[in-house]
């Protein structure tokens, strides 16, 4: 069931509420914000897709260094262009909500950090991740020695089967040790 015109049907609302971690008010608010992003002609379409360029203008995502990855991960489009339907948008909000389980959060975190979408976090992914975290300014970026040291430390701590990459289970294992993994 998609969204019809610009109103959510009661059935869709309760279905969304059951299958995501959002409350009804949150879903309605999300719907409002989403329809604001749609162009006039898209508003009448069922299952309209908002391209990634418009999604990242949302104030909550604008300054987030992971915004493109987030859109890519939650997008269900065939062309992998990061565009989101309303249901993808709800998935996004649900995964980031406070009531989402640790498993869901760690699963999606892993996919967000996996920049090349190969199913594991290898050195290139880790390097991109650290660069996103430290920001773009030159003095905040880590030097290459520091980067190498950091990556080797990370792999030493999290890579249990010693294959040089961090897969989902290893990632979840590391995360479960951190009490600060709250978003």
């Amino acid at each position: 069931m998609g969204t019809t015109a610009s109103q959510l049907s009661k059935e869709s609302l309760s279905e969304y509420q059951e299958l995501t971690f959002l409350t009804k008010q949150e879903i309605l608010l999300a719907h409002k914000r989403f329809t604001e992003l749609l162009e006039k002609h898209e508003k009448e379409q069922i299952d309209a897709r908002v391209p990634i360029g418009r999604i990242i203008t949302l104030p909550e995502l604008k300054s987030n260094p992971f915004k493109e990855r987030i859109c890519q991960v939650f997008s269900t489009s065939e062309q992998k262009d990061g565009s989101l339907t309303f249901e993808d948008f709800l998935d996004l909000l649900s995964a980031f909500s406070d009531s989402a389980t640790l498993e869901i959060k760690s699963h999606y975190a892993f996919r967000i950090f996996d920049f090349d979408d190969d199913g594991t976090l290898d050195c290139a992914d880790l390097e991109k991740l650290v660069n996103c975290l430290t920001g773009e300014t030159n003095d905040a970026k880590l030097s290459s020695t520091e980067m190498k040291q950091l990556i080797s430390n990370i792999l030493e701590e999290s890579d249990i089967d010693k294959d040089g990459t961090v897969n989902l289970s290893e990632f979840q294992h590391v995360i479960s040790r951190s009490p600060d993994f709250v978003r």
């Binding site: 059935e11 309760s14 279905e15 969304y16 299958l19 995501t20 104030p59 909550e60 604008k62 300054s63 987030n64 260094p65 992971f66 269900t76 065939e78 339907t85 249901e87 993808d88 998935d91 980031f96 389980t101 498993e103 869901i104 699963h107 999606y108 892993f110 979408d117 190969d118 199913g119 594991t120 290898d122 290139a124 991740l129 975290l133 430290t134 920001g135 880590l142 520091e146 040291q149 950091l150 430390n153 990370i154 701590e157 999290s158 249990i160 089967d161 010693k162 294959d163 040089g164 897969n167 989902l168 289970s169 590391v174 995360i175 040790r177 951190s178 009490p179 600060d180 709250v182 978003r183």
Partner: protein, 757 residues
């Protein structure tokens, strides 16, 4: 066996290579070679090989259709010195393709550990069978469909709501979940409440039961499900991060504790007594009473002296019994709540595996997604970068070798600072002690209203609480601790020492000297002093927040020329909250309305601090480990604060003689005796309770039982410690096992390649 060992050795060598230098090998191809031959022979060879020998072909075809992507993958992974073929096989193993399959439209593999049979068909037999039949890209679809059927059938076994909940926790897209639900529950139309032709009453009852179940399952522990100030806290954490948020969450926790205390005392003590006021002359009300608590207030519901010691007329309500049991009951409930929160905090914080560096954890989980303002995001990045750089530079350079002189210098500085702090605490305590003993005579020429001299003590105490922490901050700044964690712990410890000594000396004064003084109603006067301390503390905090932080900001921006605003001092503020709460808890016995006062104070404090934060402060650049700090604060709330209160109250109730002319326990030797008398009255009224008191006499008052209970308790602790130890050992063994299996995997692949050549 020899061969085996050699392979393992070379593996280790490869892992230690940082730059991919060519290494000696026995069976692995040298690194430089495969880049040219990747495209042709090894791949085709591989394809024949695996069709015959292994089971991964079906998954390999689903991996990616992009050849160039493969090549890129391989050349990158080759830095680790494995052959291209090995690497290709490893990359297409089921454990890695589990993620990729999700990006397809037909994706029904759930990687949650609840359904392991869906995600990893690693074990040989079933997958081999699959592989033998199929060899095309359709294989993925078939496998996926099999998985979908399995998922659907597993969901059908559950009830609708449980199945929905399980589905909700799976990392699939919403569209997929809707489809699966339709398929899985299409047979259960009669229990689907997305209404089809069902009669009204069934619809209603189903709706009620659904709502009830929803309530039940979303019923978290009482305090954490309250949404008070939810949006305000969200904006605060967005701008200032989780450190400042932890202060406000702590404030909210204390608010709820006080609310609970107030409601219980209100219901059982204040309202019954309020309805039946005892006859007493009322003094006039003048403004100063709000500060001093004397005069009009001294004969009011506020303080102990007002409560009568007989049965209230018309109600058959025994006030002494009510007083005793209410206070005991509230303290008991608070004890349980605090222990519960403490154990939860400790559970979150205590890691079975402690690694000393924790860099991976930091990198993966330090990004605070709640932060949304651009400036805060930039600040966060800077903070993370600084943190990482500090730790890395330590690792790269190694510890600085300090000279003997530097060591000595640091030692002297530390000693000086500690001595200064301890002396200041000592002086402050002595001052309070002497001041509380003397009677102050303010010259009447100043024309101040009566009883103002009572305010002097509380003003001095608040002044000490205000100035000395600033002095401690100065000491810490002079000592220049290397790690920010140590700095925080040291300053928290010093502040704590100060507050404990001040409260300690005051308690000593109240419990030892005052009853012996021969005052008419000493409990009320103790209550009044507590009230004054609380109010004065509040006034000073307000003044400090508005004037102090504002002035400091102006000072630092104009005179010190710092571009940044000052930082919110979390440790100091939290300790002030704990101090206020301790006073309230001690005061409940002597002034039952005190929790109400504390409640008002906390509410006003919240809005005030929020305002001041936005105006005057900014987020800290230093890292703040929110969970550890929260655990520390709850620990401090439990151990010196609450336990100290309980000890004080028990001492008061057990040993000190209540005053004879006022209060619910007049004409008794101790308050405890009052409690005992009330129980005896109750037993006489309800003989059933006699057996309860018999049980109490046998068990609680018998020392053998207490020894037994503590022995059992200690054994349980020992047992738990052993279990944790054992788990730690198991974890390290399992990690070793996984590592070995990884090596086995690579070895087998290499061997197979050799055999099939």
């Amino acid at each position: 066996m020899d061969y085996n060992v050699n392979i393992c050795e070379t593996d280790i060598d490869y892992e230690n290579l940082a730059d991919g230098e060519p290494a000696q090998d026995f069976s692995f191809n040298p690194i430089n070679e495969p880049e040219t031959s990747t495209q042709n022979c090894p791949e085709i060879l591989e394809m024949e090989v695996f069709k015959e020998c292994t089971d991964v072909q079906s998954n390999r075809s689903s991996y990616t259709s992009d050849e160039s992507h493969d090549r890129e993958e391989i050349s990158h992974l080759q830095r680790h010195g494995w052959s291209a073929a090995t690497v290709k096989v490893l990359a297409s193993m089921p454990s890695r393709t589990a993620e990729l399959n999700k990006s397809r439209r037909v994706r029904y593999q759930a990687s949650s550990h609840e359904s392991p049979h869906l995600s990893r068909p690693v074990q040989g037999a079933s997958v081999l069978a699959e592989a033998e039949e199929i060899n095309t890209e359709d294989s993925n679809l078939c496998a996926a469909e099999n998985n979908m059927d399995q998922l659907v059938s597993s969901l059908q076994g559950l009830s609708v709501s449980e199945g929905t909940r399980k589905l909700r926790a799976m990392p699939l897209s919403l569209a997929d979940k809707i489809e699966i639900r339709k398929v899985a529950f299409s047979l259960k139309t009669e229990s689907s409440f997305i209404g089809r032709n069902i009669p009204c009453y069934t619809h209603l009852s189903m709706y009620i039961s659904m709502t009830w179940r929803h309530c039940l399952f979303s019923c978290l522990p009482v305090f954490s499900s309250f949404k008070l100030w939810h949006s305000a806290l969200k904006t605060l954490s967005g701008r200032y991060g989780t450190g400042v948020l932890s202060y406000f969450l702590f404030l909210r926790t204390l608010l709820f504790l006080n609310l609970l205390l107030f409601v219980i005392t209100g219901l059982f003590l204040i309202i019954p007594q309020g309805i039946n006021p005892p006859p007493s002359p009322k003094a006039d009300f003048s403004g100063i009473e709000l500060l001093t608590g004397t005069g009009y207030f001294s004969d009011s519901l506020m303080f102990y002296g007002y409560y009568s010691s007989e049965t209230l007329p018309g109600d058959q309500y025994r006030m002494p019994a009510a007083y005793f049991f209410t206070i005991g009951f509230t303290l008991f409930i608070i004890c349980i709540i605090l222990v519960y929160r403490l154990s939860k905090s400790f559970g979150k914080n205590f890691q079975v595996l402690k690694s000393n560096k924790n860099l991976a954890v930091k990198v993966f989980s330090c990004w605070d997604f709640k932060v949304s303002k651009k400036i805060s995001v930039r600040l966060q990045s800077e903070k993370i970068s600084t943190q990482l750089k500090e730790q890395l530079s330590e690792m790269i350079k190694g510890e600085d070798k300090k000279t003997c002189m530097q060591h000595l210098h640091r030692l002297i500085v530390h000693l000086l600072a500690w001595t200064a702090c301890l002396i200041s605490i000592f002086l402050g305590t002595i001052g309070v002690h002497n001041l509380s003993g003397k009677k102050i005579d303010i010259k009447t020429t100043l024309n101040l209203p009566k009883d103002t001299e009572l305010l002097v003590l509380s003003a001095v105490v608040s002044g000490i609480n205000l100035l000395l922490p600033g002095f401690f901050n100065l000491c810490v700044w002079a000592e220049q601790y290397e790690s920010p964690g140590t700095r925080v712990y040291v300053s928290v410890f010093r502040n704590l020492l100060l507050k404990v000594s001040v409260i300690g000396v005051l308690c000593y004064r109240w419990l030892e000297s005052i009853p012996a003084n021969g005052l008419e109603c000493w409990e009320s006067s103790v209550g009044q002093e507590l009230y004054r301390l609380l109010v004065m503390d509040f006034i000073v905090t307000v003044l400090y927040t508005f004037l102090g932080e504002f002035l400091w900001r102006v000072f630092s921006q104009t005179i010190l020329q710092k571009k940044r605003k000052p930082v919110f001092d979390i440790a100091r503020n939290v300790l002030e909250l704990i101090y206020g709460q301790t006073l309230t808890w001690i005061g409940v016995l002597f002034a039952p309305l005190l929790p109400g006062v504390q409640l008002i104070k906390l509410i006003v404090l919240f809005y005030m601090k929020k305002r001041s934060l936005i105006l005057n402060c900014q987020a800290s650049r230093k890292p703040w480990r929110a969970t550890q700090m929260t655990t520390l604060f709850i620990c401090i709330l439990w151990f010196p604060s609450f336990l100290g209160t309980v000890v004080t109250i028990i001492y008061t109730v057990w040993t000190i003689k209540p005053s004879e002319k006022c209060g619910p326990f007049r004409n008794l030797t101790t308050m405890f005796e009052g409690g005992q008398m009330s129980t005896r009255h109750l037993e006489d009224a309800h003989p059933i309770l006699k057996w309860l008191s018999w049980v109490y006499d046998c068990l609680v008052e018998n020392p053998v039982f207490l020894f037994l209970a503590s022995g059992v308790f200690l054994m349980v602790i020992y047992f738990q410690a052993q279990v944790v130890d054992g788990q730690r050992k198991i974890i390290s063994r399992l990690e070793k096992q996984i590592e070995n299996e990884g090596k086995d995997k690579k070895f087998l692949i290499a061997k197979l390649q050799d055999l099939c050549k």
